[in-house]
Point group: C2
Chain length 167, copies 2
DNA sequence: ATAAACTTTCAATAATTATTGAAAGTTTAG
DNA sequence: CTAAACTTTCAATAATTATTGAAAGTTTAT
């Protein structure tokens, strides 16, 4: 396999995985492209490489910046803006963990708490609803606290600990 | 908040979270409904409760069974089929962890391995592609082995260990 | 001040994904 | 055997989501 083919394979695979961590295809592909690029890329270059429109590129770059995994780079003497992504996979994972917790898990925890706190009217179905949503709340809460611990640890610390624990 | 409102809130919230673990809305809602039901439900009852068509219900129940989190229940004397979901959240988490590993992470690991194994032609960009995809492979591999460990542990073991580790 | 270089916005459109519903298929009872 | 009860399939359609492209907005150089 040659460079070009490998690169395309990587971008398309990692891109399609994007949906797994809750971002769309273009967003994931832009991040992938930056992730293996040896220098910051301009909007023009990104559009060209991925064959996507200017508007699409602009919007998705913005979202990536909102996620905290892409940053603008100002290159002296250049008028246009350049972009880079976090290159360290551990850091990348930390950012993503933190964002997913904030955007997805936290709001769900809130609802589960509300639902599991309804007044127990003594009927079997109410008891079941309370019991099950409580159990789900506790599970989600555990998962979330794990995720946040991951997000706040030093690089490698987590990986080392987990591997030791589970080896 | 009354039972009915709480139930609807739970189904719609947990349902919309479905996309997080890679299943569609109807599928997630059916699972939610079964999760808080005090008895197995027939297709008719599910259609009625969620206001979805027979075809939709049938297809999504099938998918839930493929995921291993819903099972057919045969009730003596009844002609129609009834369905239940795994009620234990730990078991549910184990099933989901296992399936996601198999369906999503494993295939990606394979591609990452292929891409990171291309011939090093000595150019900087090739070196970068190899380095970055290797790092991603290792991260994904760690995540996957963690997920699989979770999927194979005794109930509660994982939660307890993790809480101890991260308390 | 203004023109060139560049980015953002957003209504229109395209692409994708989910849902319906009715026909075909299957199972069971009599 | 066959009619009734039930489930599955799948082409058509609807709903949702992503993408485009051109106009509007912004910044910088002169």
């Amino acid at each position: 396999m040659e460079y070009k083919e490998a690169k395309e394979k990587f971008i398309s695979t990692w891109g399609s995985l994007g949906t797994l961590w809750g971002i769309n295809k273009a967003m994931a592909q832009i991040q992938s492209l930056l992730f293996i690029s040896i220098k910051p890329l301009s909007m023009e270059e990104i559009m060209e490489e991925l064959k996507i429109s200017r508007g699409n590129t602009s919007m998705n770059l913005r979202q990536l910046m909102d996620w905290g995994i892409v940053t603008k780079e100002l290159i002296p003497g250049e008028r246009k803006e350049f972009f880079t992504t976090e290159k360290d996979v551990q850091e990348l994972a930390r950012h993503i963990a933190k964002e997913r917790s904030r955007r997805e898990i936290k709001p769900v925890l809130k609802v589960l708490k509300e639902v599991s706190s309804i007044n127990d009217d003594g009927t079997e179905k109410t008891k079941e609803l309370i019991k099950q949503t409580k159990a789900l709340h506790d599970l989600a809460d555990t998962a979330d606290s794990l995720l946040n611990k991951v997000a706040n640890q030093e690089q490698n610390w987590v990986t080392k600990s987990l591997l030791k624990l589970f080896k």
